[in-house]
């Protein structure tokens, strides 16, 4: 087994809901409610779930854009929240970079590409301008953008090209881990595969670890080693990706898989049973008691609405469901 690079231990993030003039706290959005996972060196770990499941909140916590309510994030075995400012600056921040979902908003429209991609270098190294720009041109080359793009502005590029530039920026500091929050979902379908191939190539070239966030399982199968299915702030199933596709355990996972295969009506062959999710995900302000999925689960029994299931190992993977006892 590969070495563990990052570990999330029982992380929780509750956002206060305030109301009125005095900003009284009237409730808590349980965006992430006790999630644990590990990311291995050189591997891809994917987080999959519907909109509002709490995926971006986890990404923000790892990128230190939000502070957790409780729980720990361990990087190379050390608690990130116990790092001093100086340790963060040299030992964590530069090693954990990200590519965001929306390539239209993730770049300052008033900066040239060479300064956008070069920013991590300007901030973290003492390299003179010329050296930074030399490095930028190499980085752009690696992601398939010609050096003539250096002096251009982001709006002069297409979405796919911009996402390549974003990848170049994320690679500038030679990070160990990239957090990719839906890196292709804003792109044209025809361009998605290109970007995913690029990411895969870069992973083997630099032994990068990825955390990929997606709401579509199909995206994930192609590039991830480990996967976790998230529902309403919690994991319902996690483990090896191939195993999860071959032998999905949780009813929610099965529903997601069947949804991802249902691309055209004729795909829904008589043999394959379609599981269609009905209704909306309940509000994270007031999650249902018992198993959080029971309100939409076709197989829910009486126990499911009363008792919170434990995460348990079933075969190779782990699942949180009363049906596996």
């Amino acid at each position: 087994m590969a070495e563990v690079l990052l570990e999330a231990r029982d992380i929780v993030k509750h956002y206060p809901v305030t109301r009125g003039l005095l900003q009284r706290t009237v409730g808590w959005v349980r965006a992430v409610d006790g999630v644990s996972f590990t990311v291995e060196q050189g591997k891809t770990f994917s987080l999959v779930g519907e909109s509002g499941a709490g995926k971006t909140t986890i990404a923000k916590a790892i990128l230190l854009l939000e502070r957790l309510t409780s729980g720990n994030i361990l990087f190379e075995g050390k608690d990130v929240y116990k790092f001093s400012a100086a340790q963060l600056k040299t030992g964590y921040r530069p090693k954990v970079q990200s590519v965001q979902q929306n390539p239209w908003s993730s770049m300052n429209p008033r900066m040239r590409v060479r300064d956008i991609v070069g920013e991590p270098l300007f901030v973290n190294t003492k390299q003179p301008k010329k050296e930074v720009y030399d490095n930028v041109s190499k980085l752009l080359d690696q992601v398939g953008i010609g050096a003539e793009g250096m002096t251009r502005y982001p709006h002069e590029f297409s979405g796919g090209q911009r996402q390549r530039i974003a990848v170049a920026r994320a690679l500038a500091l030679h990070p160990n881990l990239l957090v990719l929050d839906e890196p292709v979902s804003a792109l044209d379908v025809s361009i998605r595969a290109q970007i995913m191939n690029l990411l895969k190539d870069l992973q083997t070239q630099f032994n990068l670890s990825y955390i990929v966030i997606a709401h579509n399982l199909a995206t994930v199968r192609y590039m991830s080693h480990g996967v976790a299915i998230m529902y309403l702030g919690q994991l319902v199933e996690y483990g090896d990706t191939e195993e999860l596709f071959k032998n999905p355990l949780h009813p929610y996972t099965r529903a997601l898989i069947s949804a991802s295969q249902l691309t055209l009506p004729e795909d829904a062959k008589d043999g394959a049973k379609q599981i269609i999710l009905t209704g909306e995900m309940p509000s994270p302000l007031n999650p249902p008691p018992g198993c959080r999925f029971h309100t939409r689960c076709a197989e829910a029994g009486e126990l499911c609405s009363k008792e919170i299931p434990d995460m348990r190992q079933v075969g190779k993977n782990y699942v949180k469901c009363h049906h596996y006892k």
């Binding site: 908003s105 993730s106 300052n108 429209p109 008033r110 709006h155």
Partner: protein, 300 residues
């Protein structure tokens, strides 16, 4: 999702000559004309002593309210006529440009500078700093400017710097509020989050990411203020707390000539035209500058 190809098409088809030639000329005229007006006015005010045909403060009681040269009864000695004390209107307009433009530009530099600094700091840093600065802004915005101006005139004595201080003392607040709002919007943007992930300091983010992106509204407000400040200075002159006579400013000339409007319209009309020209040129130039500084609009 389908925007990508369109954007690409837009950038590859840079307009060159041909069809849009006429509109390009028009577009260029809209900044060449106001820019020339500004340059001429600034040169005029710098070289006023060499250009002005007469001493702007020299009175001639025998030549009062002489009409401009191009009107019956006018003489080429006073091209734009004389005022109620027999002073040369042209020379006063030329010297007046000095006072009016420098008051206006100084006040704008001070207020926009302070307001932008405070707005960005307040909006980006938030918390107590924001709470405190915004209360100060509230106070500044609700304080009667005229009262402050009068108090200052009494305390410091009327004069050029009193006018500048009086107009600056409260004027920054509007900028601060505007820039704070813009800052709040930008600080939540993805690219600021990305800068933080890169390890950029707050200082760097404010300077490199927030500031360039608040320039659009800032430039618009600044250029609108050129005319407003000239008018404010005239208001103060009218109340006797502006630049004291006999030093000419466009504002004081307009208000001096008000009583003679029916018999000697030229006394206030010519400085009035100058004020109008500056206001208009300022607006056109502002639009042009904004387009020039925005990379997304630059090459269109």
């Amino acid at each position: 999702m389908t925007v990508a190809p369109n954007i690409e098409a837009k950038t590859t088809n840079k307009r060159k000559g041909g069809v849009s030639r006429w509109s390009r000329i028009m577009k260029n005229l809209t900044f060449i004309i106001p820019l020339s007006i500004f340059i001429i006015l600034i040169l005029t005010s710098i070289f006023a002593p060499f250009i002005a045909p007469h001493d702007p403060e020299a009175t001639s009681l025998t030549e009062r309210r002489l009409p401009p040269a191009f009107i019956e009864g006018g003489s080429t000695k006073y091209l734009l006529g004389t005022d109620s004390l027999g002073r040369d209107v042209l020379s006063r307009v030329i010297y007046g440009a000095r006072v009016s433009l420098s008051v206006s530009l100084m006040v704008i530099a001070i207020t926009a500078g302070i307001g932008t600094l405070m707005g960005i700091a307040s909006g980006y840093l938030g918390g107590r700093i924001d709470g405190f600065l915004m209360r100060v802004v509230d106070i500044a915005m609700s304080f009667p400017g005229l009262v402050l101006a009068m108090l200052l005139a009494v305390a410091l004595g009327p004069g050029f710097f009193t006018v500048v201080i009086a107009l600056s003392a409260l004027g920054w607040a509007g900028y601060a509020r505007l820039i704070r709002g813009e800052t709040l919007r930008i600080r939540n943007s993805d690219f600021v989050a990305q800068a933080r992930i890169s390890g950029a300091s707050s200082w760097r983010i404010m300077l490199r990411h927030i500031f360039p992106n608040v320039l659009n509204p800032l430039i618009i407000i600044m250029t609108l203020a050129v005319g407003m400040m000239i008018l404010a200075e005239s208001g103060m002159s009218y109340l006797g707390i502006g630049i004291p006579p006999p030093t000419p400013s466009w504002g004081s000339m307009v208000s001096d000539g008000r009583n003679d409007l029916d018999v000697a319209w030229w006394i206030s009309t010519f400085p009035g035209i100058c004020i109008g020209l500056v206001v208009l040129s300022g607006n056109f130039l502002g639009d042009w500058l904004r387009d020039k500084m925005d990379p997304r609009l630059r090459q269109l």
